[in-house]
Symmetry: C2
Subunit: 332 residues, 2 copies
């Protein structure tokens, strides 16, 4: 076991995308658990679009300068003075960008490594999968036969959202950037159609693939893609917002806001946060795991190597849209 | 009775606000009703923000060049070959900007002139009042004790919306332009507070007047006012969109779109069209008329003189925000 704990801390508040100099790599001793605490050796870190928001001055409670960067992670308990977590347990929690974390168990979930590989608990069985699940099934209340459009369709949330739409007997259209992602979501994930927003006009493509209009839009991108979908809504459409990746690093959003299309379509746009559904996580995870086991759901993780040192570049890779599947950083 | 029918027709599709030269005044003979038709002598024309949208090339079915401008109006039947409308009946319908209209009765409602002055059927008992009513009570499902914010609060929809909020035992905060409007909605209509967006920062004023956040926002203005309210939403807030007056004549909407605030607030923004509730108009009008009679609801109409000739200027007055109460054009 390492005798030191490498950590990534926020060094400066970035404008736009964070530069390397906005981060600081620090070395602390590996913590020892106090009474009611346990220590986790982190295996995988989740690299999320929302991380850009967490460090923004405009965010409600941004990560403080000098604090360890927040991150969801999975790992294994290596020392425990906690009554409910034992050495060897596999766990998920907001452990931060570091190699070891000390926790009192708040917000920590025990995981079953026999059900799925540990990394899937940051993908289809993790917050991205749960976000897709509750967004479509609880917020949008998807009905069989509806036309569902998903943005960021090759990413962690979008790839699961499109598959849940198919499992729910809906038509799934994915919007993604580049031919590789578009091929993957149709050929491997079973989406009915893919729109490469880098080479096609999204509104025109939707006229072709969703001639009756869009019933449900699961969006975590925002910006011009949201504006394009707003012009193609079916009557009574529901837009579910789980994020706005294109907007997180934008200094000033420009462009024609098409929100007034909501009126003619009698449509709604609703925001939600996945942790509001925490009491239903276990049931949702069981259902998602069942679909995984039956081969109806694919969880693809794009796992980067390099440990916490590689975190600044991993985040930039995410915003450059280079990942296919959920982006994860392995911690040695 | 006039022997001619003066009409205002669309002469050119405007960019921005319509100029006088975008309209043409024409003179036709007064129509005679055919079988199943009747003729209405128009008394009052409704001057609406949505009129700008109706003539926009981007609108789904814009008013054609050369066609009589669409408008809601009230008047009296002067000739009839229709089984259900008799000479002397008072009626509301989409009669257009003209002195006489011929109708087959589609979308026409018979009015009771003893219940309220005829002009109130374009105000609190008309589409503006019904829009406020269904927006707050059917779409937002207002609960007692909530904090309701209303934009365009001295206009046709907003002035009724704030009063319905008070009747529903909610806190009503109006946003309007200028001290006269702000004084009127508090002193005469009973709003709890008014925010003059021309002299105050709306988000800062909401921090003061709605410290617990905004539960319901009835918006027909949009733009920067919507963005400001988005930053002050209470958890579970509902935004009801009945229009976007500030955006109708805008060539390009600029500014920071704050729609991502919907996520943290678990809030929704829903659009609707009042005619979807046509089957409930009679019941809603009876309730609104009851409140009028009891003195709990004030319908103020700002009635311009000058007849259909004055229509181009009346529309500009509306967009200059000069009216207090519902703007109406009297037709002699």
């Amino acid at each position: 076991m390492n005798l030191v704990n490498h950590q990534v801390r926020l060094a400066a508040r970035p404008s736009g995308l964070p530069k390397r100099s906005d981060w600081e790599l620090t070395t602390d001793p590996v913590p020892a658990p106090g009474p009611g605490e346990f220590v986790v050796a982190i295996s995988y870190l989740s690299i999320d679009p929302a991380m850009r928001r967490l460090i923004d001055a405009a965010y409600r409670e941004p990560v403080a300068i000098g604090a360890v960067m927040e991150a969801g992670a999975v790992g294994r308990v290596t020392a425990s003075e906690h009554p409910r977590f034992a050495v060897g347990d596999h766990v998920y929690g907001g452990f931060g960008v570091q190699e070891f974390a000390c926790s009192d168990g708040t917000g920590v979930t025990r995981l079953d490594p026999l059900l799925a590989p540990l990394s899937a608990y940051l993908g289809a069985l993790g917050i991205p999968g749960l976000t897709a699940y509750f967004g479509l099934l609880a917020v949008a209340r998807l009905h069989e036969g509806e036309t569902v459009v998903v943005s960021g369709a090759a990413g962690g949330v979008g790839s699961v959202a499109g598959q849940i739409a198919k499992i729910s007997r809906c038509r799934a259209i994915g919007i993604a950037g580049g031919p590789d992602k578009c091929r993957w979501i149709v050929a491997d994930l079973g989406f009915d159609a893919a729109i490469d927003y880098k080479s096609r006009d999204v509104a025109a493509a939707l006229r072709e693939y969703a001639p009756g209009g869009v019933d449900v839009f699961s969006d975590n991108v925002g910006g011009e893609i949201l504006d394009a979908v707003l012009t193609r809504l079916a009557r009574g459409a529901r837009i579910v917002l789980s994020g706005g990746q294109s907007q997180y690093a934008a200094q000033q959003v420009r462009g024609r806001a098409r929100y007034l299309e909501l009126i003619a379509a009698r449509a709604s746009m609703a925001g939600f946060l996945t942790p509001d559904y925490a009491s239903r996580y276990a049931q949702a995870r069981a259902e998602l795991a069942g679909w995984l086991r039956e081969g109806r759901l694919t969880s693809r993780e794009d796992i980067l190597q390099g440990g916490v040192r590689a975190f600044p570049d991993a985040l930039l890779k995410l915003f450059a849209g280079q990942n296919i599947g959920k982006l994860i950083l392995a911690v040695p």
